[in-house]
């Protein structure tokens, strides 16, 4: 698909990858629900569901290899993220955090899985959706726990702060809770995936272009591919890290909403 768009590769010199490389046309006609990212998201739901159902179906005290693999991921989210951050009420939020983590992780991995090779989250719509879910979840929890009035009051007039400081703090807090948090959450994820994919495109497509050039350029092209491979490993790390950060911040926001004073 990418090669179709890239008509410059053969003739008039190298066209560096740009945002255009992320604009994938629908596979079936004009239907916007048949693009690659859409299929990838649906594929991730199927893969995650199948894997974890298979891993947990016969969950036993002494785990099988498959159960152990699934359980390790689950235990990581449950204990290292939910339990450590949220505290004694954590169990209620484990399903949400677990879904968030696995969903982001697998969709990020799609960026380096051969043949798929497109990180779904580099399309900002998906990142917005996830941030919106987290936004509603932590506000809903806070309101349910403290009541609308007290929750908003605690956000706007942070307890234990001198009254004069409210002039400065109140607008900042409102901005933080209702704009900065969801925005940074989604943009961080989106930008990392977007930039990572772009970086891989530069080196791999660049290497391809060099291999078609003069002899001297052909000799350089393996280095471009080599860097592309190194960056793929680096991307893998970033992908895991971004899934972790998104889930961790969500847990932190939930913990904040549950706390008596935020």
């Amino acid at each position: 698909m990418l090669a179709l768009v890239r008509q410059g590769a053969e003739g008039e010199g190298f066209v560096p990858p740009s945002t255009k490389d992320f604009e994938l046309p629908p596979i079936f006609g004009d239907n916007p629900y048949t693009t690659k990212p859409i299929f990838l998201v649906l594929l991730s739901v199927v893969l995650i569901s199948v894997f974890f159902i298979a891993a947990s179906r016969k969950a036993a005290v002494v785990p099988s290899k498959l159960q152990f693999a699934g359980e390790s991921v689950y235990a990581f989210v449950r204990n290292d993220l939910a339990k450590d951050v949220i505290g004694h009420e954590f169990l209620r939020f484990v399903p949400y955090l677990f879904t968030l983590f696995t969903f982001i992780l697998v969709n990020n991995w799609f960026g380096i899985i051969p043949l798929l090779q497109f990180p779904t989250m580099s399309h900002v719509g998906f990142a917005y959706v996830l941030a919106a879910f987290t936004f509603f979840v932590f506000h809903y929890i806070g309101i349910k726990k403290h009541g609308v009035f007290k929750y908003l009051k605690d956000i706007m007039f942070m307890p234990g702060v001198p009254k004069a400081a409210y002039i400065l703090i109140t607008p900042l807090e409102i901005l933080t809770f209702f704009l900065v948090r969801p925005l940074t959450l989604s943009l961080r994820l989106f930008a990392n995936m977007f930039a990572g994919h772009l970086l891989l495109l530069v080196f791999i497509l660049g290497g391809e272009h060099l291999a078609q050039g003069a002899l001297a350029l052909k000799l350089v092209s393996p280095f471009a591919f080599g860097i592309g491979i190194v960056l793929t490993f680096f991307e893998f790390m970033v992908q895991c890290l971004q899934a972790y950060i998104f889930t961790l911040l969500t847990a932190l926001y939930i913990a904040g909403a549950l706390a008596d004073e935020h």
Binding site: K20, I38, V45, A59, G125
Partner: protein
Amino acid sequence: MNKFYFAAEGETLNPLIPHTSEIIVGAVAFTLLFLVLRSKVVPMFEKAFTARTEAIQGGMERAEKAQLEAQRALSQYNEQLSKAREEAQTLREEARVQGVSIVEELRAKAQEEAARITSAAHASIEAERQQAITSLRNEVGALAVELASKIVGESLDDQARQSRIVDRFLDDLEKSK
């Protein structure tokens, strides 16, 4: 939405503007995954976790119980042992005291017996001496009277006289001593 794709051929698009289709599909897909994981996966893993925790806790409790039991038995044995030692000590002490008292008693008895025998012997000697004295006196009297009557020639048959003479004789005998 479709204009987005057509526009892709010409101008560059802002990557920060989301596609409606992706927002809808993303939300639905995520919700679906959430429901699947919450209903099918999380409860199973939690069940396994609980079972494992219980198994480990049960094992530890059992071990703790066994250790407690062993400790109790040990202290019981120790107590019994020390009690036995104490008892042996008392018995020994008692035996010693008893031995001493037995020896003491026996010695006293022997002394008493010896004293009794001595006094009996004394008494019998005394009695025999008295008897001897009496019989001697009678015999000596009779002999003396007989002798005297032979010498004097007169009968001293009269009892009163006889004894008077004998007494006088004896008195003289004693005086001459």
